[in-house]
Amino acid sequence: VSDDNLDFDAFVEAVQEEQLEDDLVHEAAHSAAVSTRRWRDYSDKVAGTADRSV
């Protein structure tokens, strides 16, 4: 199992655990402007997972 596979597992976990119910995220098809902060949340989670595995 490569590191990338492990990272993808962590990424998917971060995406699936994110709670949006009380968020103002609402994206139409013509907008790409809403998700950049969400990427940071996922990225931090993946990085945290990698740190813990060391």
């Binding site: 609402h26 994206e27 013509h30 402007a33 902060r37 990427w39």
Partner: protein, 386 residues
């Protein structure tokens, strides 16, 4: 339908259909506009009062929103800052005017604003994004993305999936990966069908006529639902296998990943919050639901007649549209993928009603959902519920 406390997506058409470029597939330039106007502060103020204090996700849109003069936009943002409820601010721009002055402006006026830029992947894919002389906009957008990176400003981009990117998903994502500022990518379908291009007297009207001669069937830029699904499946494999998820999220993948886990989504295409949760304010005082549906089909009323936004959200001003939405969503009952698909985009489904593409749309979404789900890590057997 939204309740009186639900949050709404508010699309502010700052300059109507007015744009400094003339993309072949632009839906805004197909709408009926009498003349070029900008959204007045009095109109925005009145609209916000009508919204009460419910939470708003505000999207600055156009045409090209950066054609609005900065002092005017500053006035609109001041009004939005004074709104008593929670807000999230975003802007979608073609990127050609995005310079240091605009970045300074946003840093000053709304530091947390999320910026979306429209770029259809690589240079070859971007050929429908042109100026009025059919000259490519690609180099100017690339310069804007490089500037965003140099200023440490993350951006999202929309890739409209036209025929020019089919079969090249890996190349398109690899090119995007060359832009360090890009943190979110949306692979937006281009399912135009029976769309009539308005005959503007622009220098590139001839190419528009060639691409869409009579407004019948699929214009030269559009893809079928199954073509879009194949492109996105190829893109998903590449994004996962090359570790591009380290660099940016991709929709619809994030939404599908959440859907299969039973989670809520922000992206309408995989959310139970659909067009009725979107309100668009046009410069001439028209108020509509999602701007992705043509006018007057999407019209809900006029700002002049508005006391509270709730008067529009029940669709009493357009019961025919409400009924069409209901009919479409009723068709999902009993579908094997209802819980994950969640009905798709109503604006995409409406033009396909009664055509062979109606079923293809659903089949393509099922295919995509299954493909992404099959590519996700499986829960460890030891952790699975017995």
């Amino acid at each position: 339908m939204p309740t009186s406390t639900d949050h709404l997506l508010v699309v502010l058409k700052l300059v109507g259909e007015t744009c400094n470029i003339n993309c072949h597939y632009c839906y805004e330039r197909r709408k009926p506009y009498d003349r070029s106007q900008y959204l007045k502060p009095e109109a925005v103020e009145r609209f916000l009062v009508a919204c009460g204090d419910r939470p708003l996700a505000i999207q600055l849109h156009g045409g090209e929103p950066l054609l609005m003069k900065r002092p005017r936009m500053a006035e609109l943002l001041r009004l939005c800052r004074a709104y008593p409820g929670r807000t999230h601010m975003a802007i979608q721009t073609n990127g050609t005017l995005l310079d240091d002055e605009w970045f300074d402006f946003f840093d000053r006026e709304w530091p947390g604003i999320e910026i979306g830029v429209s770029l259809d992947g690589d240079e070859k894919g971007n050929v429908h994004r042109v100026d009025f002389h059919d000259r490519p906009t690609y180099p100017r957008v690339v310069a804007a993305l490089e500037l965003a990176a140099s200023r440490g400003r993350p951006v999202g981009i929309i890739v409209v999936v036209t025929r020019r990117v089919l079969g090249r998903a890996a190349a398109v994502l690899d090119r995007i990966a060359g832009f360090p500022a890009v943190r979110a990518v949306k692979l937006a379908p281009c399912f135009d069908y029976n769309v009539l291009t308005k005959d503007y007297r622009t220098p590139n009207r001839r190419s528009l006529k060639i691409l869409n001669p009579d407004g019948q069937g699929m214009p030269g830029w559009a893809t079928s639902p199954m073509e879009y699904a194949r492109f996105t499946m190829e893109a998903f494999d590449h994004w996962r296998d090359r570790g591009l998820f380290h660099q940016f999220t991709v929709e619809p993948f994030v939404s599908v990943i959440r859907s299969v886990a039973g989670q809520a989504n922000g992206y309408e295409a995989f959310s139970y919050r659909k067009a009725p949760f979107v309100v668009t304010l046009y410069p001439d005082g028209r108020v509509g639901t999602t701007d992705e549906i043509d006018l007057p089909l999407s019209a809900l009323g006029r700002l002049d007649d508005l006391d509270t936004i709730d008067d529009l959200l029940d669709f009493s001003g357009n019961p025919q549209l409400r009924d069409r939405f209901r009919i479409l969503l009723d068709k999902c009952t009993g579908c094997s993928h209802e819980a994950t698909c969640r009905g798709g985009m109503l604006s995409e489904r409406m033009p396909y009603e009664g055509t062979p593409y109606e079923e293809e749309y659903c089949a393509a979404r099922r295919l995509l959902i299954d493909h992404v789900a099959a590519g996700l890590p499986r829960p460890s057997p030891a952790l699975s519920p017995s």
